[in-house]
């Protein structure tokens, strides 16, 4: 089949809307049984070009995405409950940081994470992603009210949220002391808030601050989710005698 279609093997039991149509048309049909045109779907080649992932890693991410996005509502989109289910094994578990990360992944701000958004956002967590991207993502994560700065109150709020979530108990005084100390060290200009520049310098002093911004697992993702998309073009005339002699 010409026209750039990448798969030759056509399972017979596809529904009519899924059978590859003649080339030249922007086809509704999918390339393979496995990749459906859910909203927010983007071509793996495009995503691979714009993220640290290879095409086959993007395809593996698709497997993961399908698993996550259909866990509660089978619509190929990750809803907040499905995100919470994946992270906490509890779809109703609310968490300040998970909320922030969900919002950051939801680039279009339509309340769900689509496949393209998923891959692009996860790209920042790849071991090969530029450190500057990770630093910037962490900053936006901690900038709770999206003012462009991390304010003192925001830092305190986040520490309290962590303590609450993990059943850690610290006295009010100790929390104040820790927050003040951290803040004054980071806020070198002393204007009561941490700006992206100050954050960058602070992270370079304490690199482990962005350790959550790297998922080493992403490097081996295609081993965990082997994708079965067939990519070679084979004409029948290229085939020769088969195993059964026919």
């Amino acid at each position: 089949m010409k026209g750039g279609e990448s798969v030759e093997i056509k399972p017979q039991n596809l529904s009519p809307s899924q059978v590859p149509v003649a080339s030249g048309e922007p086809s509704v049909a999918n390339d393979s049984k496995r990749i459906k045109r859910v909203p927010g779907y983007e071509d793996p080649n495009v995503l691979a070009a714009e993220t640290p992932f290879t095409v086959s890693e993007v395809e593996s991410l698709y497997e993961l995405f399908m698993k996550l996005s259909n866990s509660i509502v089978a619509d190929g989109l990750i809803h907040k409950e499905e995100f919470q289910l994946a992270l906490f094994r509890n779809k109703n578990q609310r968490n300040l940081f998970a909320d922030r990360i969900f919002d950051l992944f939801d680039i279009k701000r339509n309340g769900v994470i689509e496949f393209g958004e998923f891959v692009r956002s996860l790209g920042v967590f790849h071991p090969n992603a530029p450190v500057a991207d990770k630093i910037a993502f962490a900053f936006r994560l901690y900038d709770l009210r999206q003012t462009g700065f991390i304010e003192h109150e925001e830092l305190k709020e986040m520490v309290l949220a962590l303590l609450h979530e993990s059943d850690l108990v610290l006295s009010e005084d100790v929390v104040e002391t820790i927050v003040d100390k951290t803040f004054s060290e980071a806020d070198t200009q002393g204007d009561g808030r941490i700006d992206p520049e100050e954050w960058k310098i602070f992270v370079s002093k304490y690199p482990s601050l962005i350790k959550n911004m790297t998922l080493p697992y992403l490097k081996d993702i295609s081993l965990a989710f082997p994708s079965f998309v067939v990519r070679t073009e084979i004409e029948d005339s290229d085939l020769s005698v088969g195993a059964n002699g026919d």
Binding site: F88, T182, N212, L215, I234, L239
Partner: protein
């Protein structure tokens, strides 16, 4: 259609495939499970061996994750990063390994915490100490592939944060060993802020 052909053992080879490859694939697609090629035989197959490089996939090792330096006090952002909401590795759980992290605060010195852990582990019998350092200890369960990594980070002059990471293939054994046995036996190490006033006046 594809799967039906595989099921029946009907397939054709592209012209460019070598004889060894065809032989190999035929052995892989053998419909009879008794005579089908085994993993050991795959490793010995001439086509397969040609150019084969063994890749060791390391399960996510705790050392790979850059922990805060053990002699530097945790700052507020370090604390925040302990949140499970900040940790996306949960998205990949259930795939190969299952990891869980929790932490507690202690007013004890690191060496004391490590020593107490060692004592409790020795009592348990089926858990072994793999390694210790100034600021941590690694344990292994004999009988499953559960590994527990305990790291201690200073927080204030008096307090430390003890981070417990568990990694395993199935969740049951670690819950039983950590939550059921080891964690309760170490519960006296956990900092109780109400008693802080008493401690301060000493």
């Amino acid at each position: 259609m594809l799967y039906r052909n595989i099921y029946r053992g009907e397939f054709k080879f592209p012209k460019w495939t070598s004889l060894e490859l065809r032989r190999f694939i035929s052995r892989l697609l053998d419909t009879n499970p008794e005579t089908r090629i085994t993993i050991d035989e795959i490793m010995k197959d001439p086509w397969f061996k040609n150019g084969y490089k063994e890749v060791k996939v390391q399960p996510l090792d705790f050392e790979m994750i850059e922990e805060p330096q053990s002699n530097v006090r945790l700052n507020a952002f370090d604390l925040i990063s302990f949140s499970s909401g900040c940790d996306l590795s949960g998205l990949f759980n259930d795939v190969d390994f299952f990891t869980q992290r929790e932490q507690f605060i202690s007013a004890e010195k690191p060496w004391k915490i490590i020593e107490r852990t060692r004592d409790e582990v020795d009592k348990m019998g089926n858990v072994k100490v793999i390694s210790t350092s100034e600021s941590g200890i690694r344990l292994e369960h004999q009988g499953s592939n559960l590994v527990i990594a305990i790291d201690i980070h200073p927080l204030t002059e008096k307090l430390v944060v003890v981070v417990v990471n568990r990694r395993e293939l199935n969740a049951e054994s670690s819950d039983e060993i950590w939550i059921g046995k080891l964690k309760p036996s170490l519960s006296d190490l956990v900092y109780n802020s109400e008693s802080d006033i008493a401690v301060d006046s000493e």
